[in-house]
Amino acid sequence: MHTAATILIDGLTYASWLFIVALGLTLVFGVLKILNIAHGSFYAVGAYAAASFVGWGASLKWAPALSLVAMLLAAVAVAVVLAPLTERGLLRFFYGRDEVLLVLVTYAMFLIMEDLTKLIWGANPYYVSEPYGLFGNLDLGVQSWVGYDFALVALAVVVGVAVWWGLNRTRQGKIMLAVIHSAEVASSMGVNVSRVYMLAFTVGIFLAALGGAFTAPMISVQPGVSVGVIIVSFAVVIIGGLGSIEGAAIGALIVGLARSFAVHVVPVAELFSIYIVMAVVLMFRPEGLFQRTQARRI
């Protein structure tokens, strides 16, 4: 029986996963105006790093609960190592250029990272199984969900609130908002814009890697995991509005619920429902559902 409860719960769990994965993308675009195609690759690196870290933890005989900490540390490590390298070493040369040119730069990054991860971790699959069973099961009628999926919902809420609070209630966050609004004016007011870019990019990569790290227990980490994530994150971010956190949350919910409904009730429609939603939103509210109208600069 496809009850409304099942559809809602599935929509919610999938939406949480989407939100965690897509948040970094929308943040990076909002601040740096870069639509990062390599977002999926950072997600993949996060998953691989989590596999490595949890593996080390297991060999050091850590308690299974600490594997969650290991995954968090993996995401932090990825952000701290890769973000400065990418931003300073590569993206910095292309700031101010056409937005679409930057998309191509990130596409090149995606290609490079695909092969680099294959060179570093090899082609064999990695499994991060310890965390998945930590939260038990939830049974509801014929259905049974893994507690981990609900833990992800909690994580999504925590992450969303943390990023929102960080942007709106801290000093650094407000400076970042100013840079989002106008980098030129912020710079003329004395803000170190390039430091803000670096910080935003690091947080964005951290969120991508976090998504990958916490997804790793549910999948087999192997070459090709980055590809499925890219388009679906794009869709969420476009629907919600580039650069908007509330938009990413609502976008994720819309996509999650629509997909859940399609899978349960009309399975045939699933394949391109997401592209159609994306196209429709772009046609009628191109700035996304939550973008504030921007004054046109002459």
Binding site: H2, G224, V225, V227, L271
Partner: protein, 440 residues
Amino acid sequence: MTQAIRVKRYPHRAAALSAVGIAGILCASGAQAQETFKIGIVSFLSGQAAESFGIPAVNGAKVLVDAFNKGAAPAPYNKVGFGGMKIEAVYVDENGGATKQVQELRNLYDREKVDAVVGYVGSGDCLAVAPAAEEMKKFLVLYDCGTPRIFEDNKFSYVFRTASHGAMDNVALARYLKARNVRADSFNMINQDYAWGQDSKKDFALSMEKLYPSAKVGEDQLPKFGAGQYGTEISALMAKPADVTHSSLWGGDLQAFILQAGPRGLFKRTQVVLSAADHVLPGLGEKMPDGTILGARGAYGLMSPKSALNDWWWDLYSKTYNTYPVQAPYRMAQSLLGLKLAAEKAIAANGGKKPSSEQLAAALKGLEWDSPAGRIRMALGDGHQAVQETAIGKTRYDAAKKMVVLEDIQRFPAECVNPPANMKAEEWIKAGFPGAKGCP
């Protein structure tokens, strides 16, 4: 200062002299070097099919070509190389789309001057390259792709497929259920939404219609290829309980599905049957739920028949790669073994020269040979399409051996699960498998 220059001058001269010397030696040995038989091997070295199909197959090719060149294979494969000619292999990545593959194929024949190409896992790629090879009048062996359409919709003189096509997998699966009297009043399906998934589910559903006439189809899930997240699909499958759940998922998608569905109890509530899953067993180990019925698209891996050739192949592969060979390397092996026999037959027929594409085609047409997976016969598609036996088994994790083993193995002879030469696969299934012989 002058001293340093003087010291440096001699190394230059010495280097130049030794270069000339080496070149001379190479030229001399070049004059004695024999002609080699060059094979282009195309399979997935990157992308989603790399880990499950491409890289194991290429590994199998490497270790087998090595063994051939040493003359180390058991009879009748014990000649060095192909009839005395050493084999040289070049490897090409199948990733990047069918358009790229057509270009790579042309490069292989025209630029690298290969004598034969063995390759292709993706059905789309096979369908694209076969006409290109035919047009160029060059010898092509397809070793893995599953679509029956290659020889059912076309006629080729230069293109061959040395493994059964995909219809066999799901017919065998349905027959296994019937032979074991598994209850199947209803069945759900979850397959990837592209040609492989759609053809597989169609073959399974049609076979079940014939073998279990009263069975009802429940959920028919078609997630996107590469989706990786199946939470919603699993809920949908569990919301409509069925006796049997069929899937042709493979690779990373299958592993994700098993990792997500196992803990949710799906495998306990329904009999899961997987058409091509043997390749995930070594990696998943304990996480593979017991009692899953699965096939390997042939009598491969843990279900391969016992023979001296199989034992030799198993040892060869496992000693080099520290894991046992699953379906992909077996299919590559049977292809290269068939190619070896055909090449040697052609060489014998033309008086010892390297065979042309026409001579190779004439030799491989209708050929039969022994492989580690049983006897391969080029019986369909006017002698261009192989049939072989297959096997289906049930999983169980053996804690002592620390690996998944397959039990309750049922073998199906080729005539039982492959259509006859004059019928298309789909028509044959719809007609109720006329002419099927030797079915358990």
